[in-house]
Each structure stands twice: as structure tokens, then as C-alpha cells.
Symmetry: C2
Subunit: 362 residues, 2 copies
Amino acid sequence: MVDEEKCRANIKRMVQKCIKHNLEFRPHFKTHQSSDIGRWFKAEGVTGITVSSVKMANYFADNGWNDITIAFPVNIREVDAINALSNEISLTILISDSVALESLKTSITNPTGVMIEIDTGSNRTGFNINHEAEISDVITEISEVKNLLFKGFYSHPGHSYKARCKSEIHEIHKGVLLSISDIISGTNLNREEYNICIGDTPCSSVAANFTGIDQLSPGNLVFYDLMQVQIGACTLSDIAVALACPVVAKYPSRNEIVIHGGAVHLSKDVIDHESIKHYGYPVELTKNGWNPTNKNGYVKALSQEHGIVKCTNEFMRFIHVGDIIGVLPVHSCLCADLIGSYQTLKGKSLNHIRSSSIQYYG
Amino acid sequence: MVDEEKCRANIKRMVQKCIKHNLEFRPHFKTHQSSDIGRWFKAEGVTGITVSSVKMANYFADNGWNDITIAFPVNIREVDAINALSNEISLTILISDSVALESLKTSITNPTGVMIEIDTGSNRTGFNINHEAEISDVITEISEVKNLLFKGFYSHPGHSYKARCKSEIHEIHKGVLLSISDIISGTNLNREEYNICIGDTPCSSVAANFTGIDQLSPGNLVFYDLMQVQIGACTLSDIAVALACPVVAKYPSRNEIVIHGGAVHLSKDVIDHESIKHYGYPVELTKNGWNPTNKNGYVKALSQEHGIVKCTNEFMRFIHVGDIIGVLPVHSCLCADLIGSYQTLKGKSLNHIRSSSIQYYG
């Protein structure tokens, strides 16, 4: 279930924040993977977007988006698909290590934007910011390849997911800004000629200082989820999706209900709450949506199809076998990817591509 | 990737075990969700199967299976779909609490088998075995409903997943057998008139005593996975699936490679190895499959699309950007559900239904 109003409010809030800070908003569409929800961004003036696979880029290109960044280390096995797509739209790819660049020099056939991915502390992907000479060489090499157009630097400060309050997010963001300042001072390029883009929802939502940054590409903010609440990036009221789950059994002696909503629906991301694992929060579904609360209990375990919900006495009395409850997800991106479609509170169906199901490599 | 030979060997081993112990093998098809792989069971003489949703039951009924148990607490909102299916095949549903039974009394329109789910220690679903009077009442109530045919008792001893060696599995299985003995002595039914079915892969794989049990319905054994290795249910060599993942970046200074293989491909089940989280083991893929090993390193983190693999020095030297490696999954059921298709080592495609994507409730 998607609460369209909350979803549009989340989008609008980030659009306005970007306007205020003179940033280009290039939202990451991996979270919703929906051309229908994409239109809600377009309505707010968004024209450039970010995705995490060539398949997703093709899908959004087919749906009218013509300025797309694939924010994933370029997969050199997909170069034919990249060339086909860059023939149609303005495409930007990520160079995250020097080996991939070597291969692209001879295989890219159309003008293609390139951002250099830098690692600002997440230790996931990107060039180490201390390897200045290497980064400098990569910029030079890119400039020497006819079809590669250097666009700037990209970073996903994923270590912000370790934060557990706003001040911790601010602290991490400060470190990111320092890294970016190092990158800027490490190059002798004209600052007007390239962009710096960062893309995590916690820093994008909470930070108030974006010195050195030109573009923001958060994705999760469109829905938010319990993990973002735990991090301090949003409140329970901002969460714009809930998984509708039928109640199939009720065990009063254990204060537990069983729902058809398991690991194949919610995925298995988890938050720890006082050393107890929570896989979601149960909420009552009404025509107007749900009352955002963590006071009804929690999903304590997931099998493939089963969810076990530990309930308060009150929620236990209130819920019956045959009811449908909502579950606020721990990680909305993974839940949306698993379900593969949405319904708004007004009953309208929204599409979803499920980019995970097929990959390009032969 | 599916290693058909290993897969067929896993099936055959369980078929032979069931013959030896005079058990009916009713494999759970939720793991593979594939009519193609279903045929490998049929080739070994399997005629009755187990699934975990009405959608899955419909899919296998459409593919020629006509004796199906839906081993999930019956969802009373799906009664129309159940009635439609029971018109076509021999269908058995699960009663896991007394409320659902009440609703079915008036809504089931065709003869439908019913098993009473009992909780033999997993605390997930089913009647508490100590509530003898309640179970007795349910049996009586079932016998009074024209279209409900009492078939026996079903249990999934999911607490066997907490085992970490064969002797712990044996210990848990002993407790399950005791519970079953209590159930048998608690009813005054003729023992010939009902079946007892249990369905977990660890006990099914390891136990050698099945006193009181008539049917086995494990599912995971078709593929096995790292979790089953950790539990003690199989060896690394028994694992019959690996996720093929392209290598997209390489960071020698961290001894890490990055693969296109994330939480939307592997799901997020995890095993703890000396307090380090492992999301999978990387293996070299060759034309003959893979060398089953945990000696190349481990998948240390998963984002939505990224997998970060910590590598040994040797594997690091051996693997290059652009290669495709295999990843032995922690939980093969969830990985297969996410990918939604298979390829054998000989390049043959096998289908998969993805039962999670759509559910029946209006």
C-alpha cells in the first residue's frame, strides 16, 4: 500500500530543500522502480534521475526519462546495452576502479557521461580519496577518450546508515564534506566544469550544509522506513508504504498472530530494539491509511511466507483471523522490489519493474 | 545456476531414505517453485507434494500435480480459490487455529483434506500439543463438516534450524518424536486412519528414527545452502545452486571485490562465523560447475545491488573485473525466489513461479 499524499510530501520536501541549497535533485529510482511514481517526481520539476542497473535505466528511458545516471560500478559485460542506451538518451555511468576504465576506452561507441566514484567513508565502492595521483590519472585518461565525457564525482556515504540519531548523521556528513573538499582541492580542474553528487537518504534528509556539493541523489526518502526512523532520518509519520498482510492464525496464549507476510515479502533486514529483533511494525489499515505507530507490537520472526507478530494485549483483542493488517517495513526498497506492484489508498494500481529478476550478462 | 546432477542426487537420496523408512515423501516445492525441477521429483516416483500458498498450488496443479498439501495456515479470505482448486485436484489444507475452522464450516464447497497443524516446539504455528481437549474438539468438529476430510497432523519443526551439529539435530528430533507420540496417544482414532507429516530439512536429512511418522515434506534439501551446512544437515558439496555474479570492481588494498549480486538477489539471511557475518561464499564457476569451498573468502556485506566479497590473497589474484563468479547462498529458497529463473550447467533454462509477487486477497 502506498500513501500517495505522504509520498508526494516526501518528494516535495526534498525538492524544496534542493532549491533552497541550490542543488540539483537527481533522485535514485531504485527504491520505487515505478514509472507511475516517477511521474510524481516529474510533476515537481525533476528531470534527471539515478538508477542502479542498466535494466532499470532502460525501463525509465522507455518511460520518457532522458537524463539518467547509473550509480553502480559499470559492468563491462554490459557495454553493448550501455551503447544502445546512450544512443537514445543522455547517459552517465560510474567508474569505480581503474580496470573498468581500461576496458571502456575501446568499447564505448557513443558520447557517454562518466562520474568517478569516490569512497567518502563507506568502504563499499569507489576510489580511495587519499589516492590523489590515481584519481588524477583517471581524469586524464577519461579526457583522452573521445566518447567519455567527464562529469564529476559521485559518492554514496552509506556509512550514514550506522548513525542512530541526527547528531550522528551530522557528524558523518561533516566527514563527507571534508572528503569532498579534499577532492576539490586535489584536482586542478575548473570547479564550474564538473559536479559533485552524493546520494544517501540520511545525510540528504538531515544535513543543512552542502558546501561543495552540486547534486543530491537519495532514493529511500520517497517511502522512508523503520531503518530510517532508527537512523534518525525521518519519523514514523513520514513512512509512505505498508505491506498489507492477511492474518491467518491467532495464538492468545503467546500474544502472537501469524500473517501471510514473510521473507519473500518483507526481505530480512532487521532493526535491533533493546536487543530484540524487529522485522516490522503492525498497524491497523483503514480507508485513510494507517496510524503510524510502533505501539501495537512488532514482527518478531519471518519464515519464507510466515510473519510472526508479537502483539500488545490491546492489539491482540482488536485483530481477528481474516483481517488484513499493515506492516511498516524495515527496508522499503527491498520490500517494494519483492512485491513488484503497489496500490494507493484509493485503490489505484502502480507498476514496478523488479530489476533484480533478470540481469544482463552472457 | 543449478547443478542438475547434484540436485537429482539430493532428491534421490531423500526418496531412498523414505523408501527405507516406509515414509511417503511429499516434498515441499516452495524452495524451487519450478515445474521443470518438479519433473525431476516425478521421475523418482513422487506423486504428492507440499506448497506454501494457494498461488503455488494452482501453478503446480496447472503443471500436472493432482495431490497437493498447502502447508500454511489456511487463509479464509482465499476460500474461493481453494474451492476452485479442490474441484480439480486432491487438495489438503492446514488448520492451525480454531477460528479458521469455524469460518470454513460453511464456506468449503468441495471435499477437501484437512491436516491439523501441531506445534512440536518451533513456536511458529499450530496447536499447542498440551491443549489435548482443544485438539480433540477440532477433530470432532472436522468430522461433523461434510466437505472436510480429516487427514491427520502436520508439523514443521523449525526449531531444528537452531541446531549447529548433527547431534543437536538428533536431540531436537527426539523431542519432536516425543510430541508426536503424545499426539498419537492423546487421540482415540484408529492409527490407520490418519497420517503424521513433518517437514523440516535438518531432521529429514539427519534423523534415522521416524517412529510415528508417515510422511516427510522437506523442501530445502533439493538445493541445500550454507545455513544447512552450518546446521549440520548437509555438506558444502551437496549445495546444488550458486548465484552467478559479475565482478564489477576490485580493491586490492582491501582484498575485496564488488559483485553485481546484492540483497535483491541473495536476500539477507546471514550466518555468523566467529562473530563475522557471512552472506555467501564465492566460488569459481567452470563448465563443470564449481568447486564447493569456503576457502576463497566470503560475502561480507550486501546493499540493494552490491555484494562486497572479502577475498583470500589467492582468490584476489585469480579474479578479475569482468569475470563471473558463483556465490553459494546462505538461504537458497529466498535467493531462488528473488531471481525467478534458473540455468543448468549445460545452459538449459528452468522456470520459476515467484509466488510472492501476487497474493490473493480482495
